[in-house]
């Protein structure tokens, strides 16, 4: 096995503020070509205390060095479950930087913004086709905000019918954003158990006249398709509820099956997962929401419309839940996602889902027997193992940290919560068999090390620039900013 992780020369770097030297500057502005003006002195501050003074070279070197301490998809394999860390195509970056798209002001009158509006409209239509929904709003900034928009839409629908339901059912495998969102929508959360997948019986036992909605994730966070989804949706509808779907795992289903065709009423997309836009070290993402025809009046406003001739920003509808963002959402991310859809085409998207699922099942086949596999039904885009069979008092965290020494970003760990010591691996379609084999070799070698030399795992990582960090002290005595002399 070739281990890609090595100890190369990595450069240390101080904080910006520790570099600062009075009198240095890293900018140039044109000479002022109008008379100077002044504000009343009582409105003005002294200099901004602590603000750095640096040259352009200082700044460029500083951030270049910091960048080398990061691991990205372009550095290597990044099997972070539930995050769909697929390759971020470079042409998308070029497309988003075309000046006409990059520098248009959001308050530009519609007739002078036809390019952006057309692109957004086409993206809305493409996402509706991929998901099987009647209509899509692009406004939400991220998955969690999409959830909020979607749950507000459901609540608005209930309110419009005079229904005062107070509860939302959420399976124990759900992302934490689901219950947090339900709460922000003014609902009480009722957790329901799943045995790998949700059963009709479990939903039936909890679905009553006080339940406004069921929030599901499909495929769920165990990487399993919710096989009873149609019957569950039917039941929830019969009893007057709505079904929300967390679309984080759509990468398993493009061109295969559409959530809208399963009976789901609302779903958010994560353009930064399924549609290849970069994760940016934690955003910006984009979280469009698709809904059925019945729910369209409640979508966030304003939306983008096409009257057959030109594109416009429609006035916010009377029943709309209102605005989610100051402007039209993260349009720069939409440009990248639309570029991806145009590059892939319908057949390409389906092929992407097929290869993502192939990769997950391949890694599962190679690691089954080495790591405990808590759920055995067919995996879709991701596979969940646990640390149950590990020897040497080694746990999931140790495996994750040791993977860093081998040159990989660790999988998602300790999630979903229903699996003790979960190791959640999502491969995506952009990884080759060769990469997967090397990764599996590393995982197998680590299981062997746990048996033969557990201390190696407990100490890991040893090759990274810094070692395991003291998170307890960080939380107990929070130091959240630099202070002079501190």
């Amino acid at each position: 096995m070739t281990i890609v992780g090595t100890s190369g020369l990595v450069l240390n770097e101080k904080l910006l503020f520790e570099h600062s030297d009075p009198g240095r500057k890293g900018y140039s502005l044109p000479k002022l070509d109008v008379p100077t003006a002044e504000l009343p002195a009582e409105l003005c501050r002294e200099e901004i205390s602590g603000f750095p003074e640096l040259s352009e070279v200082d700044v460029v070197r500083h951030f270049t060095r910091l960048s080398t301490w990061n691991y990205g998809v372009d550095s290597g394999f990044y099997p972070l479950g539930s995050c769909t860390m697929k390759y971020n195509p470079k042409v998308n970056e070029v497309a988003a930087r075309i000046p006409g798209l990059a520098f248009i002001h959001p308050a530009t009158p519609s007739h002078l913004a036809q390019g952006s509006l057309e692109l957004m409209y086409r993206l809305q239509v493409a996402l509706a086709e991929i998901s099987g929904f009647a209509r899509v709003t692009l406004q939400p900034a991220a998955g969690a905000q999409g959830e909020l928009a979607g749950m507000l839409v459901i609540r608005a629908w209930h309110e419009a019918r005079g229904s005062k339901r107070t509860k939302v059912l959420i399976p124990d495998t759900a992302h934490g954003t689901n219950p947090a969102t339900a709460s922000l929508t003014g609902y009480d959360v009722v957790p329901i158990a799943s045995d790998g997948v949700l059963t009709l019986e479990e939903v039936e036992a909890h679905m009553n006249d006080d339940v406004a909605a069921l929030m599901v994730t499909n495929p769920n966070t165990l990487g399993l398709f919710e096989t009873n989804i149609e019957a569950i949706c039917k039941l929830v509808h019969e009893r007057g509820g709505m079904v929300y779907c967390d679309g984080a795992n759509l990468n398993a289903l493009m061109g295969i099956a559409r959530p809208g065709d399963m009976g789901i009423d609302v779903m958010h997309f994560n353009l930064h997962k399924t549609f290849s836009t970069p994760h940016g070290g934690g955003g910006p993402g984009s979280g469009p929401v698709g809904v059925t025809e019945e729910l369209t009046p409640y979508l966030p406003g304003p939306g983008i419309e096409f009257d057959g001739e030109s594109y416009c920003i429609e006035a916010t509808r009377a029943d709309s839940i209102g605005r989610m963002m100051a402007f039209h959402g993260n349009v720069g991310i939409m440009v990248r996602a639309y570029a991806y859809i145009r590059s892939m085409g319908g057949a390409g998207l389906k092929y992407a889902s097929e290869m993502a699922v192939l990769n997950a099942n391949y890694v599962r086949a190679r690691l089954e027997g080495v790591y405990d596999l808590p759920f055995t039904s067919r995996s879709l885009h991701e596979v969940i193992f646990s640390d149950k069979d590990l020897e040497g008092d080694c746990h999931t965290l140790d495996v994750a940290k040791r993977l860093i020494d081998y040159g990989y970003h660790p999988p998602t760990i300790y999630f979903p919560l229903v699996v003790k010591g979960a190791i959640m691996i999502e491969l995506t379609e952009t990884e080759s068999q060769e990469v997967l084999d090397e990764f599996c070799d590393a995982m197998i070698a680590i299981a062997g090390e746990a048996r033969d030399n557990p201390e190696l795992l407990h100490q890991a990582p040893i090759r990274s620039r810094i070692r395991r960090l003291d998170e307890t002290t960080a939380a107990r005595k929070p130091k959240l900013k630099w202070e002079k002399g501190a």
Binding site: C44, I48, K86, A144, L152, F225, G280, L380, F415, E471
Partner: protein
């Protein structure tokens, strides 16, 4: 497909190892009844060349400050963007990483966020800032929710001079939280009316929210707002949509604000038709544990080296679920990095110089415009780089006429402020050369002649 590396041979070999015959067999758990039985109805895939041709054609149908003389502001600003920013954020170790869950291989992101938090504190005069929010408007909504949690009160006073889109997002977030949102009137000088505020403040009020500068470009008396709010135990939330102003203005923290939010777009982010931008969120030390969003803290590793980690996560949704301080999961990481690089380059001196240029250019434009027959200034309070102009001729006609000579003169206020239906909002930044301002004045004058 160039993004998918599998050869036909790989696929065969992998299926064999899995123990299934075909790719379809991998989807056995997807019931036949929900399978899509036709190809997706999308355009054929485009090559790189075709794609860029298509996108450039779309871009050509847009008007930008490169094609028009633009005086549009209202919460999104055309400012100088140093070349360094795009070069640095194009390091793919930054933009292709995700949330720094594994700190040992995410120190680049973590240290940059720690620097961002520090810079935001220095800029706003506050004690602690988070790793960023989606935009200024959603940060403002989260601030209202936080004030409600801190005070356990359910009434919020929003200045009518606060950006109307920020107010709209606050209303959306609070829609079903049983919260009373009350508008506070605008005085003749364009600031929040302190008399109306006093009348509406009571001991059930959780927060007073005002812009700084406000939507009309006028500089609020934050100290007076804070004093009034605090007298009844309410929190003062200050929303800064144009942070360049803070290069010159006293910080909201110094003036008594309890929560300071805003948008960092002015600091190096392209206008991009409204996003991605980046919200910032800063609080007092005592309220840190009640704030939403991610936080990065300093600590040490096993060998005593300085390092950074995500911290105080017990406030967040992945731990606290329905009891979390917010449902927010991500932040606007790369945008926060852009803002951090911008502030590093401009520094102490640059931000002040930039603010002074904005002030001077807007003052010049204001003076020139007020001298034109048929146009007048609406508010006389101290202003930064935006101001409201009243027109004798219908606003729509004036703006359309100027568009025809390549000028985007401002944002009509009719929709958001029916009482200001004859007004538009003009923004002048350091990017507008004197010739542009003179051209605006000449074009407005031309219509009058």
């Amino acid at each position: 497909m160039r993004y998918i590396p599998h050869t036909a041979g790989d696929v065969t070999e992998m299926l064999e190892r899995i123990g299934v015959a075909t790719l379809q067999d991998l989807f056995v758990e997807v019931p036949e009844s929900v399978r899509l039985k036709r190809p997706l109805n999308l355009q054929e895939s485009a090559s790189e060349t075709e794609l860029l041709r298509e996108f450039k054609a779309l871009a050509a149908a847009n008007a930008t400050p490169e094609t028009h003389k633009s005086f549009l502001g209202g919460g999104a600003y055309n400012h100088f963007i140093p070349a360094v920013i795009d070069q640095l954020i194009s390091r793919s170790e930054f933009y292709t990483a995700y949330t720094p869950y594994q700190p040992e291989i995410s120190q680049g992101t973590l240290q940059a966020v720690f620097e961002f938090q520090t810079l935001i504190c220095q800029l706003t005069g506050m004690d602690a800032a988070n790793a960023s929010m989606y935009d200024g408007a959603s940060a403002c909504a989260e601030a209202v929710l936080m004030a409600m949690r801190l005070t356990r009160r359910k009434r919020v006073l929003l200045s009518k001079a606060l950006n109307p889109r920020y107010r709209a997002v606050v209303a959306t977030y609070c829609r079903y939280l049983n919260l009373e949102l009350v508008e506070v009137a605008v005085a003749d000088d364009g600031r929040t009316d302190l008399v109306d505020l006093a009348a509406k403040l009571d001991d059930s009020t959780a927060a007073v929210v005002a812009g700084y500068p406000n939507y009309f470009g006028v500089i609020e008396d934050v100290a007076a707002l804070a004093e009034q709010a605090h007298a009844t135990g309410a929190k003062l939330v200050t929303a800064v949509a144009e942070p360049v102003a803070l290069g010159l203005l006293k910080s909201p923290g110094e003036l008594g604000a309890d929560i300071v939010v805003g948008d960092g777009q002015s600091f190096g982010l392209p206008l991009a038709f409204g996003g991605p931008y980046v919200g910032f969120f800063a609080v007092r030390q005592k309220d840190v544990r009640g704030m939403p969003g991610r936080l990065v803290g300093e600590t040490t590793d096993l060998e005593g080296q300085r390092g950074f980690v995500l911290t105080l996560a017990t406030r967040e949704q992945h731990i606290r679920r329905e009891k979390a301080t917010s449902n927010i999961c991500s932040n606007q990481g790369l945008c926060a990095l852009m803002v951090t690089i911008f502030m590093s380059l401009l520094g102490k001196q640059g931000l002040r110089e930039m603010a002074e240029q904005n002030l001077a250019k807007a003052a010049y434009a204001r003076q020139q415009l007020s001298a034109i027959k048929g146009f007048s200034l609406v508010f006389d309070g101290p202003a930064f780089n935006e101001f409201v102009v009243r027109s004798v001729a219908p606003v729509a006609e004036v703006l359309t006429r100027l568009e025809k000579v390549g000028i985007l003169a401002g944002i009509p206020l009719a929709e958001d402020y029916p009482a200001l239906a004859d007004c538009f909002l003009v923004c002048v930044t350091e990017q507008n050369q004197r010739e542009e301002i003179d051209a605006l004045v000449a074009a407005l004058q031309g219509g009058e002649a």
